[in-house]
């Protein structure tokens, strides 16, 4: 375990880390740091150079040992009781009680990161808590990641300038951030979030902690990243040039300093050589060149232009379009940089008392409002003749214009002025993106009414008419021609200003005369209707209106009309809850149209049963063709069990393991089955066999497995032909724009365009430009194909029991299986000769051993060996907890073994990089109370609480949890229920889901079956403990222990 930190010192980021102190070694001997007199002690948690280097290597950022040397610096850390306070309980418990901390110097080992590695490392940190198992991203690193993105944003928006830095007689060509107006604001608010640890490193004498302001540190960091990004981009040889990359050149190779400067701006190091006086002169020249922008940046305000509409008196004319030719106004305003809502009319700024402008705090030394206003107006005048004309007066405050002028301002001048750095305020009806009212075309489809008999498909060809509309008004050809005659670029239609370009109207008329109607398939019409198209031959496209069955289909897809609720299919033996009936009916509706669906209900709402219901219906209705169901290895067993329980009539085949069939044999076998279960790992490997089958459908469980469209799995999934596609996922895919494309492309190819189109139309506008309209468009486009219900939805809560119990069937890994068999063999041998109390003991011991094997080989072996990848249960728990965290829920995990609790804690902490609480019998009362308090009370507190069944079974109140996991079973329902009730108590406001883990094919499953069979009389039969098992005969025990191999991973 290592928690990575980074501090800014010497103009770069220094990486350091904390690791827990190993119990067996003392800190000093661990690293062999000698404590010199006067020098601070080494932090006991210092990860050390070797660990840092190996960590970077592990995450894929190898450090060339020749170039990067580790170093030791002083870190000022909160200290209590003569020890630094660790950043996280993952490293060490924080001292008990409200012990006062002081800031004291410690030495830590750091690895200096150059800008290249800094950006690479920080890019990796996005959207994660850990970089690898046991490599935790410190919160300070998370901060630097945001700071780096801030620098990236400035570069993307081109807010930087070339410069020359003079420092200690050395001159360097650099790229500097241009921080104007709102950016300065944003930067200041970002600086407030800088953790103290980010600037807690110092060098040399450690007599007082560093005190450089967070803002200065942040600016220095951002400047470094910007310089790096621009320099690197600039050093790429131009695409059209065949010249070799620039070689390093000396000062004498340049004809002039300007050449050298331009070269150095694109060279890795940027140093300029030459006469100091000449270089100083160059520095002055650059400063002078940049002066206008430096001034603008330094100014506390900026000039703003506001377009104001004519004031309408009385009733608007009744005609559909009215034009108001006169009465528009552009007003000059000064906008405060610090507070964009503060706008002062230029008229007021001209007044003598406005000279230093008290409205702008703090007033800048030497800033003259009028002089600033003048020079800004002067610049604007060069861009806009109307402004120029207004300057004939001594104190201009704006100018008047007519509709044509207003239109020109809206369409041209505004953008020009804005790009030159002026503020432009336009009427809301113009700036609201997407809702801007202008001429647009739409398609009108007429189709026959939907008939009951079906037989319709998306490949049907329909005719449609083009329509031309303004806003919601559909216009006739005559009206269009009348509008064309008006020749006013801005007209008011029903109280709304509308842009009307004469040439656009004429083009619309021409377009309409040429193609009044067209043909397309229903699939194309649907895609157009949902918004895959923005433009039709140069016109804004507003969508499809449809009558008849196409209209009904569109209405149902978009949720404007209900689709019929279906009765549960024949062969489905379970009971569907009302929301599951709706979900199943929705799946069936999309399936009938051959459209792909993504069911993204919260965990525990029963995605599996809804999917099984769909498969059962389809099996009966569509000629008994097989479905390919792909899932992670850890849930194969679960699917088998659930299918056997809810759709016993569906033959299920598991295509998995070494002995799996291929080619002809595979095809023959498949034909006999309704459901073929396989795993993502095999999807690519067996693709050639999978593609040979005429599948009815392909279903992806845990579909986030294909979120990266480049992976072989994702490509393979897309390439299998079938009639319908279904994706199941419990993580909120719709929230992650980047992941959406791959899943949607699998479900409904082409809906979101190519990946590049998707990036341009949705990803960048939503993620970078914060365009709400693009987000709305994406939602409209994908909404019909994604169904996500939350367990907190009112309609769902009503349908759910307060306590929802589920079994989770897991598989054994091969290692677990062979250990299991060995234990059983040994027990059978010993049982033959054992009797009485000895027999009893032997049975209980065997029981315990087998449970341990089912839990984890490391628990059984007790050898402190590695954890990941060795237990089916643990794999499943990790996956499920990931889903729990993704929606911000908390969970309790019960195990009856405290050793297993420790293993779980270690593994979950390393995997998720978050603290995991563990309550066991050995925990003192104080710590126990504190842990409970934190779980219940802290906002960002630990989301998982592991409890040993004995210690945590009674008397606790842990109602923050909405999930309870029983990692292993206590063969007594009463004990389990008591434990479950920790979460489910009075005061619990949410539903609780209880997940009971069972290893399929093992004694766990068999005992579970026995308990289920005898549930009615369970209390008497099983009594208070597990003793009843010892009453079984040897033959019964043999059957009980025997391992059925279907539960073993291949």
């Amino acid at each position: 375990m290592i928690v990575l930190h980074a501090g800014f010192l010497d103009n770069r980021l220094l990486l350091w880390g904390e690791s827990p102190v190993a119990a067996t070694t003392t800190p000093a001997s661990r690293r062999g740091v000698k404590t010199k007199a006067g020098r601070p002690q080494a932090s006991p948690f210092d990860a050390g150079a070797t660990r840092l280097v190996s960590t970077l290597e592990e995450v894929g950022l190898p450090v060339p040992s020749k170039r990067v040397r580790s170093d030791t610096v002083v870190a000022w850390l909160p200290t209590a009781g003569g020890r630094p306070v660790a950043s996280s309980p993952l490293i060490a418990e924080s001292p008990d009680g409200p012990a006062s901390t002081t800031l004291s110097p410690w030495t830590v080992t750091v690895l200096p990161l150059d800008c290249e590695r800094t950006t690479a490392l920080l890019c990796m940190c996005i959207g994660k808590q850990t970089l690898a198992s046991g490599v935790v991203i410190g919160k300070d690193l998370a901060f630097w990641r945001q700071a780096m993105r801030f620098a990236g944003a400035l570069v993307a928006r081109q807010q930087f300038l070339p410069g020359l830095e003079a420092r200690e007689g050395r001159f360097r060509a650099i790229w500097e951030p241009g921080l104007a107006g709102e950016d300065r604001h944003r930067l200041a608010s970002l600086a407030k979030d800088m953790p103290a640890v980010g600037r807690a490193l110092s060098r040399g004498k450690a007599d007082c902690p560093p005190s450089q302001a967070a803002l200065s540190v942040l600016i220095a960091f951002i400047a470094g990243i910007i310089d790096h990004l621009v320099r690197r981009a600039g050093s790429q040889p131009p695409v059209d040039s065949l010249k070799p990359p620039r070689a390093r050149r000396g000062a004498t190779d340049f004809a002039s300093l300007h050449d050298q400067w331009l070269h150095a701006l694109r060279a890795p190091d940027g140093t300029l050589e030459g006469e100091p006086t000449a270089l100083a002169e160059l520095e002055r020249q650059i400063r002078e060149w940049r002066r206008p922008i430096s001034l603008a940046v330094a100014s506390p305000c900026r000039l703003c232009f506001r377009l104001e509409e004519p004031e309408v008196s009385g009733e608007a004319r009744p005609s559909p379009a009215a034009s108001l030719r006169e009465g528009w106004h552009v007003r000059y305003l000064l906008q405060a940089q610090d507070d964009p809502s503060l706008l002062i009319p230029a008229q007021d700024a001209w007044k003598p008392e406005a000279r230093s402008w008290a409205g702008l705090a703090p007033p800048m030394v030497g800033f003259d409002v009028r002089e600033y206003l003048l020079s800004s107006l002067g610049q604007a005048a060069a861009l806009c003749p109307d402004v120029q004309a207004s300057l004939k007066r001594p104190t201009p405050g704006g100018y008047r214009l007519d509709a044509t002028g207003a239109h020109a301002f809206l369409t041209e001048r505004a953008a020009t002025l804005e790009q030159a750095g002026f503020g432009v305020l336009l009427p809301a009806w113009w700036t609201r993106r997407g809702t801007k009212v202008r001429l647009a075309v739409s398609a009108r489809v007429r189709s026959p009414k939907m008939q009951g008999g079906g037989g319709l498909s998306l490949d049907e060809v329909v005719r449609f008419d083009w329509q031309v509309a303004v806003g919601d008004e559909t216009l006739s050809l005559k009206e269009l021609e009348a509008l064309a005659k008006l020749k006013a670029p801005l007209v008011k239609v029903r109280g709304q200003w509308v842009e009307m370009k004469a040439e656009e109207i004429l083009a619309a008329i021409a377009f309409w005369r040429r193609n009044p109607r067209e043909k397309a398939t229903v699939r194309q019409v649907l895609q157009m209707g949902l918004g895959t198209t923005d433009q039709v031959r140069g016109f804004d496209f507003r969508g499809v209106t449809a009558e008849g069955w196409v209209g009904t289909l569109l209405d149902r897809l978009e949720g404007r009309a209900a689709y019929g609720e279906l009765p549960p299919p024949r062969g489905f033996t379970g009971t569907l809850r009302p929301y599951q009936v709706r979900g199943y009916s929705w799946l069936a509706f999309l399936r009938d149209w051959g459209l792909g669906a993504c069911l993204a209900d919260d965990m525990g709402l029963g995605k599996t049963v809804q999917a099984l219901a769909l498969m059962a219906r389809d099996w009966e209705a569509n000629g008994k063709r097989p479905v390919l169901l792909l899932c992670p290895t850890s849930v194969v067993n679960n699917w088998q069990k659930e299918a056997a329980r809810f759709t016993p009539g569906l033959p299920v085949m598991v295509h998995h393991g070494v002995g799996r069939r291929k080619g002809e044999a595979f095809r023959e076998e498949v034909e006999k089955h309704a459901v073929v279960l396989s795993t993502y790992a095999l999807l690519h490997r067996d693709l050639e066999h999978l593609r040979e089958v005429a599948w009815a459908g392909v279903i992806l469980d845990e579909a986030q497995n294909i979120k990266n469209p480049e992976t072989k799995q994702a490509r393979a999934a897309r390439s299998i032909r079938c009639d319908y596609r279904l994706a199941l996922t419990g993580t909120p895919v719709e929230n992650n724009v980047g992941d959406l494309w791959s899943i949607m492309e699998f479900l409904n190819a082409g809906l979101l365009g190519t990946q590049a189109e998707f990036k341009r139309r949705f990803f960048i506008p939503i993620q970078a430009e914060q365009d709400p309209e693009a987000a709305a468009r994406l939602k409209r486009l994908t909404g019909p194909f994604v169904l996500r219900r939350l367990k907190t939805d009112k309609a769902i809560i009503a349908d759910l029991p307060d306590k929802l119990e589920m079994k989770v069937f897991c598989s054994l890994t091969k290692e677990q299986a062979s250990l299991y068999t060995a234990v059983v063999k040994e027990a059978e041998q010993s049982l033959k000769s054992a009797e009485g109390i000895q027999r009893k003991g032997l049975i209980l011991a065997t029981l315990s051993k087998l449970k341990q094997v089912c839990n984890h080989p490391a628990q059984f072996l007790g050898d402190n060996s590695s954890i990941p990848g060795r237990s089916g249960k643990l794999a499943r728990l990790t996956e499920m907890l990931e889903e729990v965290f993704a929606v911000g829920d908390r969970a309790l995990v019960f195990s009856q073994f405290s050793e297993m609790g420790e293993i779980l804690r270690r593994h979950l902490q390393e995997t998720f990089g978050r603290e995991v609480l563990f309550l066991h019998g050995g925990l003192p009362k104080g710590q126990r109370d504190r842990a409970i308090e934190r779980f219940q009370g802290e906002t960002d507190g630990p989301p998982v609480f592991i409890l040993s069944l004995k210690a945590g079974g009674t008397g606790l109140n842990l109602t923050r949890a909405s999930h309870v996991f029983h990692f292993d079973r206590w063969w007594n329902p009463a004990v389990e229920n008591q434990a479950t009730d920790r979460a489910f108590r009075i005061g619990q406001t949410r539903n609780v889901q209880v997940h009971k883990y069972v290893c399929a094919g093992t004694l766990e499953e068999k005992i579970d079956e026995m308990i289920e069979r005898k549930k009615a009389i369970a209390e008497q039969v099983v009594g208070a403990g597990e003793g009843w098992l010892t009453e079984l005969s040897n033959a019964e025990l043999k059957r009980l222990f025997a391992l059925r191999t279907e539960g073993v991973e291949a």
Binding site: Q158, A200, S211, A213, P352, D368
Partner: protein
């Protein structure tokens, strides 16, 4: 020195100048020098002297970087030009300055419209300004020959010679960028001019404080924030969850690259072989995309297709 007139008569055969390295290079790509009317007016003064091929040679000197340095002070310019001899020639241009009283009169009129100050501050000499000078019985640019004296240390007996012409052209280009330089040659510094104009623009009178000069290149832009001691509370020390969310605003690649350097225009007396703004445009375009990728944390390779 008086002007000498030698019509259509080039005495010397054209000599090749020595190659000058790192001289000032005209940014005007071809055609006539001086984009602005005031720069052209300045060059017209030169071109009114009938010095034949020397004008052409002067232009090519200016483009090739034969002018090694130019220094401008009130009313005078001195420059070094590399000719065919090893030692560069010394060029001097003297311009008659206007008197203090003249300038006072002028600024009085110029202050009555916002236009003059506004355009000048924005880097443009307003066209109407010549009318104001004429009305005051003055002229913006030297008109009479005694207003302008030139000399060069070269052996050419023509004055102006090609060396003077080269300096002239480069000055014209610099006037494009900064019209206040013309005022400087006429004896008026920018700051002084603005001070004279200061109180007059707008309705009010000067109040107590005199029109303050513009701050020097925004030096006050980012005063170093005061020191800020580290906090000791271990909670805020290690940082918070989800730092710096929503501090980015809209991030968009601008449609036209390098708006900032373009807004600054030509570099004063650029000597580089590559045109500065051409280089900037390329770099800004590349960098912008790289910045977007870092902002979105999408590694370059992945975002390409």
């Amino acid at each position: 020195m008086a002007w000498r007139y030698w019509r259509n008569f080039d005495f010397y055969p054209p000599s090749r100048p020595r190659e000058a390295r790192g001289g000032i290079k005209a940014q005007t790509k071809g055609g006539t020098f001086g984009r602005s009317w005031w720069a052209r007016r300045w060059i017209e003064v030169l071109e009114s002297f009938d010095i034949g091929q020397r004008l052409h040679r002067g232009r090519s000197y200016a483009r090739r970087g034969q002018v090694l340095s130019i220094a401008i002070v009130k009313g005078a310019v001195s420059a070094k030009v590399q000719g065919s001899r090893p030692t560069p020639y010394q060029v001097r241009i003297k311009v008659a300055t206007l008197t203090k009283a003249d300038w006072k009169r002028l600024t009085g009129v110029l202050g009555s419209q916002a236009l003059f100050a506004a355009r000048l501050l924005a880097g443009e000499m307003p066209g109407e300004i010549e009318g104001v000078f004429t009305a005051a019985g003055l002229s913006l640019l030297p008109r009479r020959s005694k207003d302008l004296q030139t000399e060069c240390s070269c052996p050419d007996w023509s004055n102006p010679c090609k060396h003077i012409a080269a300096v002239y052209y480069l000055l014209g280009e610099e006037f494009d960028r900064d019209p206040f330089l013309i005022f400087k040659l006429r004896g008026m510094e920018r700051q002084e001019f603005l001070r004279l104009l200061g109180g007059r623009v707008g309705p009010g009178k000067k109040n107590g404080r005199r029109g303050a000069p513009l701050p020097e290149a925004g030096e006050q832009a980012d005063p170093t924030p005061p020191p800020d001691p580290l906090s000791t509370g271990s909670g805020s020390f290690w940082g918070k969850e989800r730092p710096g969310e929503d501090c980015f605003g809209e991030v968009r690649i601008p449609p036209a690259p390098a708006a900032l350097p373009k807004r600054l225009g030509n570099f004063p007396f650029w000597r580089g072989e590559e045109r500065l703004l051409d280089a900037m445009e390329r770099i800004y375009r590349e960098a912008s995309m790289a910045g977007m990728d870092v902002f979105l944390a999408a590694p370059r390779a992945q975002s390409e297709n």
